[in-house]
């Protein structure tokens, strides 16, 4: 599914972060986003996912414009953020059941996916007791179950051990074969060069 951003503008505390920013992605394309702290990498992903409002401009996913009043476009994407973004008082399994329910995928085989990401032993543990690496694996499990056409991955390898990184890379290869559109944010330019089609460097306004 293609993604198009046209003349996007956004300010924080009256300082511009984006000024007439445009981006066009074809279906199945993988883009790496890099840049210094405060250049707007996470902000861009949040705006595309609908978490954050835009000041002006347009974001289009497939045939639909992203609009906070329209939930439909959000069906096709998943935002894997670097904040927790889960309910700390629920278990891993409960969080997955909740989120997959929101996307209408109530009959998903959550247990099998948790085995795949090696979280089956911790699925009944409360998320507030998860380590950073375990949280990333849980979010990866969510992305696998939801199977969206567009994936917004914000520093997905943070906190992962060597096995975790290999697992993530293998899943990205699978997604690539399925022609999923991906935006990946990372500070590791070498990794981005190897795992994406092109890199966009954001600069501070």
């Amino acid at each position: 599914m293609n993604l198009q951003v046209t003349n996007l503008s956004k300010s924080f505390y009256h300082s511009p972060v984006f000024q007439s920013f445009s981006l066009k992605m074809e279906s199945g394309e993988k883009i790496g986003l890099s840049g210094p702290n405060g250049s707007g990498k996470t902000t861009l992903l949040k705006m595309i996912s609908g978490i954050m409002s835009i000041d002006s401009g347009k974001i289009r996913i497939g045939e639909n414009d992203v609009n906070p009043d329209e939930p439909e476009p959000r069906k096709n994407l998943y935002y894997l953020g670097h904040s927790v973004g889960l309910y700390p008082g629920l278990t891993g399994y409960e969080n997955l059941t909740f989120i997959t329910g929101l996307y209408g995928k109530m009959n998903s085989n959550i247990s099998n996916v948790l085995i795949k990401v090696r979280l089956d032993s911790a699925q009944d543990k409360l998320v507030k007791f998860y380590s950073q690496g375990m949280l990333q694996r849980l979010k990866l499990a969510t992305a696998i179950i939801l199977d969206p056409n567009i994936l917004l991955l914000d520093e997905p390898l943070t906190g992962l051990d060597v096995d975790g990184i290999k697992l993530f890379e293998s899943v990205i290869v699978e997604w690539n074969e399925l022609r999923k559109t991906m935006i990946i944010v990372s500070h590791n330019s070498d990794w981005l060069r190897t795992n994406t089609d092109r890199i966009i460097e954001l600069k501070q306004c």
């Binding site: 300010s11 924080f12 505390y13 009256h14 409002s53 000041d55 002006s56």
Partner: protein, 220 residues
């Protein structure tokens, strides 16, 4: 100040000053609408137009809020804040002139009259509005929250008014504004309208000045 460097603004200020002076002169020299109240009765000529202006400004806060939420233009947020600030100043005047007029008119400082009570409740909501502006979080979110509170406050007005009006039926026995107008003598009516128009000129000057200050602050 750069606002008063512009000719149009100077003219506006001059007109506002002239109208206010005439207003005060007439209030002091006109015969009180109710002779028994003495000079305090003339507060009626200030209290009523000030109340009308305050409610009109709060209506403008609601309209600015709706326009800000739909158009996402910061101009409407600045205007909404300016309307709220000036409106609250006028509402404070309503709440001070009200009891000053009420004591000689009805023997008590606070009669729980529907309009005065509605004014008090709106004033309290807008004090909360300013606290939200100050402590509500990051400016972009706070602008949206303030717009919602501004709409909520004015949406509440008819319900507050109706509730208070039928709450204490015995409170309805106090003189209504209409009783002051004697069809044989139209002067009080004309003066009330004049007073309201002059207050509109003064309040619009205050709003334009405040909006200008907010724009300059944002530009810096």
């Amino acid at each position: 100040m750069s606002f008063f460097n512009h000719r149009n603004n100077l003219i506006h200020a001059a007109i506002a000053a002239a109208l206010s002076t005439i207003n005060i002169y007439i209030v002091l020299s006109l015969e009180p609408p109710n002779l028994a109240q003495g000079i305090f009765g003339n507060i009626f000529y200030i209290h009523v137009p000030v109340a009308w202006t305050a409610f009109l400004l709060y209506l403008c806060v609601m309209i600015s809020g709706i326009l800000f939420l739909t158009k996402k233009d910061q101009v409407w947020d600045r205007r909404g804040l300016a309307f709220a600030e000036v409106g609250t100043i006028f509402m404070f005047l309503v709440l001070t002139t009200g009891p000053i007029w009420a004591k000689p008119a009805w023997g008590i400082f606070w009669p729980w009259e529907p309009r005065l009570t509605t004014s008090l409740i709106l004033f309290l909501i807008f004090l909360g509005y300013f606290m939200l502006r100050e402590f509500g979080g990051n400016p972009e979110q706070v602008s949206r929250y303030a717009a919602v509170v501004g709409i909520l406050a004015f949406l509440d007005v008819p319900l507050i008014f109706l509730s208070v009006k039928f709450w204490l039926p015995e409170m309805q026995s106090h003189p209504q504004v209409g009783q002051y107008f004697d069809s044989a003598n139209p002067l009080p009516t004309y003066f009330l309208i004049f007073s309201f128009l002059s207050l509109l000129v003064v309040s619009s000057l205050m709003i334009r000045l405040r909006t200008n200050i907010l724009s300059m602050k944002e530009a810096n």
